[in-house]
């Protein structure tokens, strides 16, 4: 039982971090950034030398953890900011649909760049091997990695909350997310806020890359896409633009996946995702605006 709870929390953590990365950018730009998943994949491959072999030739992956973590997080933030400056800045006045398509295109560019250097064959990697050792908690044996994933996610969420609530940057980001035009009329610099949102989102992508890469032990150019899809769904269920909702829905989706894996009859398990998406449809039928409505600015007289 406890095992199920931890599995759910671990998977939920990944989805929650992913959803947060999407919601942050959506909040300030109304852009659904489908390139986010490919930024995650890029962060994993940034640890390797280009090669066509099945076994990865490690480049930065052997760094001690206290260098490895900042390295990956910085790669994610850097790439994300680069995407903003090179691509999304040109689309700032475009419609949300146009921006979304641009993000698809950008995602493919990143993915095919990786394909060119590494081929499409998944590679086995061993990131932070010490973390796969089991630990015993409340009578359940689980890999240390699971525990660290959950704790890291909670720390990231707490850190982000403090950042948004207590700092001037955070204040400007919250104001901009709610009404960007008005924030600008109060002197809030648009470029700074948007670049910050991309940097944070990219840093989160780096964190996901580390966790997911250590969990699966493979580097696959498709790896970001799977998380991206679930994360995107989480942001929609959570209420687009609501950061709290994105996190909540991320954890719910993780829990739903894990619980269905256990509860469904053996024959139905291969169709688990169909059941998860079915649940998603149900939620949206009953709460089309999402679980938490993003900052209602209802006009009052």
């Amino acid at each position: 039982m406890l095992q199920i709870v931890f599995d759910a929390l671990t998977l939920g953590s990944l989805y929650a971090l992913g959803a947060l990365g999407i919601a942050l950018i959506f909040g300030v730009m109304r852009l659904v950034n489908f390139a986010h998943g490919d930024v995650i994949a890029f962060c994993v491959f940034a640890l390797l030398w280009p090669s066509v072999d099945a076994v990865a030739i490690v480049f930065a992956g052997n760094l001690p953890w206290y260098l490895l973590i900042p390295f990956v997080v910085l790669v994610g933030a850097g790439l994300s900011v680069l995407c903003e400056i090179v691509v999304f800045r040109r689309f700032r006045d475009a419609s949300p649909a146009t921006m979304m398509i641009a993000s698809f295109a950008l995602g493919f560019v990143i993915r095919y760049f990786l394909l060119m250097l590494f081929t499409s064959r998944p590679k086995s990697i061993s990131l932070l091997p010490a973390l796969s050792q089991p630990v015993e908690i409340f009578g359940a044996r689980l890999p240390l990695l699971q525990l660290i994933t959950i704790v890291t996610t909670l720390l990231v969420l707490a850190g982000l909350t403090i950042f948004l609530r207590r700092t001037r940057f955070g204040l400007e980001m919250r104001a901009a997310a709610e009404n960007f035009a008005m924030a600008r009329m109060l002197g809030v610099r648009a470029n700074r806020v948007i670049m910050l949102a991309f940097a944070l989102s990219g840093a989160l992508a780096g964190a996901i890359a580390l966790i997911f890469g250590s969990q699966t032990g493979t580097a696959d150019i498709q790896m970001g896409a799977a998380i991206m899809l679930m994360a995107f769904i989480a942001t929609v269920i959570g209420g687009l633009g609501s950061l709290g909702g994105a996190v909540l829905a991320g954890f719910l989706l993780g829990a739903a996946s894990v619980v269905m894996q256990v509860v469904l009859p053996v024959d139905a398990r291969p169709f688990r995702d169909a059941f998860v998406y079915g649940a998603v449809i149900l939620v949206l039928l009953f709460r089309p605006q999402g679980l938490l409505v993003a900052r209602g600015t209802k006009e009052r007289v």
Binding site: E178, A181, G187, R189, T297, E299, R300
Partner: protein
């Protein structure tokens, strides 16, 4: 030299021309009302001055410095604070957080913390209800309180010129009176320059100051509010009788 110079500006939305060749200027401490019926181009004019809507002709300058090509945040940082129509409070932020959003431009300047704190006190003294609700969510304020909040928020940027679009819209008349009273007091205290858009000329006549009347994207009447704001002349201009 005047504080704000608007010269012959033209604004178009696609094939529709909203403002066709409007000019006026404002000196420090002036008060100017822009009145006129719906669709006269008043709001477009104000948004163009704030850098939100692009102009296709003419020029706008603040203190002799052209505002062409400047982003809204740059114009705000030059001391022109805009209060757009419709009370855009940040509903999920607290009242005090709303007030602080506009102080980013002071950060890092000499003694900015003390200055922001004293500005905050000044706004609270002007609108005591905001002090009472300072930690409450801004979205839960009543319409009149939200109007005070957006004006207070604009004042927190320490502007030289404040441009307000329809401060009386949706407010009870006695609340409107209060809002105007506060604005006039601020003008007297610190030489604040006011540019106010109102649909009717009643406020302009009550308050005094200069007034222009816009119709069909042009200025059709201008002068001292108390002189031109009453009588047949303004009715004719407002409804366009001279066209018949």
């Amino acid at each position: 030299m005047s504080l704000l110079d608007v010269s012959d500006i033209v604004i178009r939305y696609g094939r529709l021309t909203a403002v066709r060749g409007v000019s006026f200027s404002l000196n420090e401490g002036d008060i100017l009302f822009i009145t006129g019926p719906n669709g006269a181009g008043k709001s477009s004019l104000l948004r163009a001055i704030a850098g939100v809507t692009p102009i296709v002709g003419g020029s706008i300058s603040l203190d002799g410095k052209s505002l062409a090509g400047l982003a809204p945040e740059d114009i705000a940082r030059l001391g022109l604070s805009m209060v757009p129509e419709g009370r855009h409070v940040f509903g999920s932020l607290s009242v005090e957080e709303n007030l602080l959003v506009g102080t980013g431009m002071h950060v890092g300047k000499n003694g900015w913390r003390a200055r922001v704190a004293s500005d905050l006190e000044a706004v609270y003294d002007t609108f005591p209800i905001l002090r009472e609700r300072r930690n409450g969510q801004a979205g839960l304020l009543s319409g009149g309180q939200q109007q005070m909040l957006v004006i207070g928020r604009a004042l927190m940027t320490n502007p030289r010129l404040i441009a307000i679009d329809e401060p009386s819209l949706g407010l009870a008349p006695n609340i409107t009176d209060q809002v105007y009273e506060r604005l006039m007091a601020l003008r007297a205290q610190r030489g604040l320059t006011l540019l106010i858009v109102e649909q009717s000329s009643t406020r302009a006549v009550m308050t005094g100051g200069r007034m222009v009347l816009m119709r069909g994207g042009q200025i059709v009447l201008e002068g001292d509010a108390r002189e031109v704001g009453t009588g047949d002349q303004i009715q004719a201009a407002y409804f366009g009788y001279e066209d018949h």
